[in-house]
C-alpha cells in the first residue's frame, strides 16, 4: 500500500504544480455551465460533459507522463498494478473534490428536486472519465492525438441525443441518462440503465488499461533473477 500511496502522492504533486492546468480544470466546466445558464437542463448537461472532457484529458496526461518513468519504477520494485492503482488514487483525490464543488454549485444554484441525480451524474463522470483518459493514453501513447480523441468523444456525447443508439457506444452515455432522469423527471429505468452502462464502461476501459500497461511493463522471460 505504501507504494500505491507513493505513486498517488507523486501524481497529485505533479498535477498541483501545473497551476494553469488546475485553473483551467476548474474554469472549463464552469464556462460550459455558464454558457447555457438560461436553460437548466442544458447547463447541467454541459457542465457534466465539460467535466468529463477535463478529467479524461487530465487522466490521459497523467498516464502519458507515467509512461516515461514507469519502466524505471517497475525496475525499482513496483508492480504494474501498483503503478496504475496509485495513479487512479492520485487522480481521484483531485477529481472527486472538483466534482463535489460542482455538485454544490448546481445544488445551490438550481435547487433541483431530484438532487441525488446531480451527485450520481457527477460521480459517474469521475468514475468513467478516469479510465477513459488512461485507456486512451495507454493505447495512443501520444499527447496531441489523445487530447483530440477525447475532445471528439466528449463533444459527440454532448451533441448527440442520448435516446439514439449511437450515443450508447460512447462512454459518458450513463451520465446523460442520469441527467435526463434528474432534469426531465423520467422513470427509474433511466438510472438502472445508466448504472449498468457505467459499470460496463469502467470494467471494459479499466480492464483494457490494465492489460495494456501490464503488457508494456511485463517481466520478459529472457531475464531470470536468482537470489544471492
Amino acid at each position: 500500500m505504501s507504494r500505491v500511496r507513493a505513486v498517488a502522492r507523486a501524481t497529485v504533486v505533479d498535477l498541483l504544480r501545473r497551476r494553469t492546468v488546475v485553473v483551467l480544470m476548474v474554469l472549463v466546466p464552469l464556462a460550459f455551465y455558464a454558457a447555457r445558464h438560461d436553460l437548466e437542463g442544458q447547463s447541467i448537461r454541459f457542465l457534466a460533459m465539460g467535466l468529463a472532457w477535463s478529467l479524461s484529458t487530465l487522466a490521459a496526461f497523467a498516464g502519458l507522463a507515467g509512461q516515461e518513468i514507469d519502466p524505471r519504477l517497475r525496475l525499482s520494485g513496483f508492480g504494474a498494478g501498483e503503478l496504475l492503482a496509485g495513479r487512479v488514487l492520485g487522480l481521484s483525490s483531485f477529481a472527486l473534490p472538483l466534482a463535489g464543488l460542482y455538485a454544490a454549485v448546481v445544488l445551490v444554484d438550481r435547487r433541483p428536486e431530484r438532487w441525488a441525480g446531480i451527485l450520481l451524474a457527477l460521480g459517474l463522470t469521475v468514475a468513467v472519465a478516469l479510465p477513459v483518459g488512461l485507456v486512451v493514453a495507454a493505447l495512443l501513447r501520444r499527447p496531441l492525438e489523445s487530447a483530440m480523441l477525447l475532445l471528439v468523444v466528449a463533444g459527440l456525447q454532448m451533441l448527440l441525443d442520448p435516446a439514439g443508439d449511437a450515443p450508447r457506444a460512447l462512454p459518458f452515455w450513463s451520465v446523460r441518462e442520469v441527467l435526463t432522469w434528474t432534469v426531465d423527471g423520467t422513470d427509474g429505468g433511466y438510472v438502472r440503465r445508466a448504472l449498468l452502462h457505467a459499470a460496463v464502461a469502467v470494467v471494459v476501459l479499466g480492464g483494457t488499461t490494465v492489460l495494456a500497461r501490464a503488457r508494456s511493463l511485463r517481466r520478459r522471460p529472457h531475464l531470470r533473477h536468482s537470489v544471492v
Binding site: R3, D14, R17, I69, P71, L73, L75, S76, H222
Partner: protein, 281 residues
C-alpha cells in the same frame, strides 16, 4: 576530531588532485583517511605537514605506481550473466550472440560505434526489451540508469528519490538520506528546484543517484555522464570504483577511452562475435 577549515579545504584539494593523478578507489580513501587522522591528531598546518596538496598527490601517485598492485577484492560468481543474446531490428542484425559475465567487484565497459546496440544490450539486460534469442541472469537487485533520464519535470530531486525508494522498500526519510549521500559523492547537493529547472548535467546526476538507490548488486549505466563537467566526470568514475570495491557488478556504456585501461572487462560490440575480454587490473 575533525580537521579545521584550512585542513578540510586542503583535504578537498588533495582528493581532487589524487583523482587527477588517477589515484582513486581504495587508495584514494586510504590516503585521505590517513592524512585526515594525522592532521586531527597533530593539529599541524597541512602545508607544513604535507606541502601543497597537488605536489603531495603527485608524490603519492609516483610511489603507488611503483608499488606492488593491491590485490582486488575476491571476485565471485557472475552477478550478471548474458548468454548468446541476439537482436535484429527490421532485418538488420544488431546484436549477434553477445556473451558477458560480470562478477561482484568487477566493472565492465561496453564500447563500440553509434548504432551498434550498446543501449539495446543494456535495455535487454534490464528486462525492458526482449532479445530474439539468448538469456540474462541477474543475481541480486538491479539498478538501471538510462541514457535519457526518465524523470518527471515537475517533481523535485528528493521527491524522485522518495518515489524510487518506495519501490525498493525504503521509507521516505531513508530514501532522501541515501539519495543525499549518493548525490554528495557526485559533488551535488539536491535543492528544492524542480527537476525541469535543473541543468542537463545535474539531471544526469539524479539519473545516476536513482539507479544506485537502495544499493542494487548490479548496476547498468548507459553513458551516464553526458553533460557532466570535468570534475563531475572524475567524481562519477570515483563512484564507479567505490561500487566495485563494495562488491557490486557495474556495467558502463562508454565512448570515453580514458577509463578503459582500468575496467575489468571490455565488451566491444563493434567487433564480430562480441565476447567480453577480461583485463588484468
Amino acid at each position: 576530531m575533525s580537521p579545521d577549515g584550512a585542513a578540510a579545504g586542503w583535504l578537498d584539494d588533495l582528493g581532487r588532485a589524487l583523482r587527477r593523478e588517477n589515484v582513486d578507489g581504495w587508495h584514494h580513501d586510504q590516503v585521505l583517511a590517513e592524512a585526515r587522522q594525522h592532521l586531527a591528531d597533530s593539529g599541524e598546518d597541512p602545508l607544513v605537514a604535507f606541502g601543497p596538496a597537488v605536489d603531495y598527490a603527485r608524490l603519492l601517485a609516483g610511489e603507488l605506481a611503483g608499488a606492488p598492485v593491491t590485490p582486488p577484492p575476491s571476485v565471485g560468481p557472475a552477478r550478471l550473466l548474458v548468454e548468446g543474446v541476439v537482436k535484429t531490428y527490421r532485418g538488420r542484425p544488431v546484436l549477434t550472440g553477445v556473451d558477458l559475465a560480470v562478477a561482484g567487484g568487477e566493472v565492465a565497459a561496453v564500447i563500440g560505434p553509434n548504432g551498434v546496440g550498446k543501449s539495446t544490450l543494456l535495455r535487454i539486460c534490464a528486462g525492458l526489451e526482449s532479445p530474439d534469442a539468448g538469456s540474462v541472469t541477474v543475481t541480486g537487485g538491479l539498478g538501471y540508469c538510462p541514457q535519457r533520464p526518465a524523470l518527471v519535470d515537475l517533481l523535485r530531486a528528493e521527491e524522485h528519490m522518495e518515489l524510487v525508494g518506495a519501490g525498493r522498500g525504503l521509507s521516505r526519510a531513508e530514501a532522501r538520506r541515501h539519495g543525499a549521500r549518493l548525490a554528495a559523492d557526485l559533488d551535488w547537493v539536491p535543492d528544492r528546484r524542480l527537476v525541469g529547472d535543473l541543468s542537463g548535467g545535474t539531471r544526469q546526476k539524479l539519473n545516476v543517484v536513482l539507479a544506485a538507490l537502495g544499493d542494487p548488486a548490479v548496476l547498468l549505466l548507459d553513458e551516464p555522464y553526458q553533460g557532466f563537467d570535468g570534475e563531475s566526470f572524475l567524481d562519477f568514475w570515483e563512484q564507479v570504483w567505490h561500487w566495485r570495491d563494495e562488491g557490486r557488478a557495474v556495467v558502463v556504456v562508454t565512448h570515453r577511452p580514458e577509463q578503459l585501461k582500468r575496467v575489468d572487462r571490455v565488451l566491444d560490440l563493434g567487433r564480430e562475435g562480441a565476447v567480453a575480454r577480461r583485463r588484468s587490473r
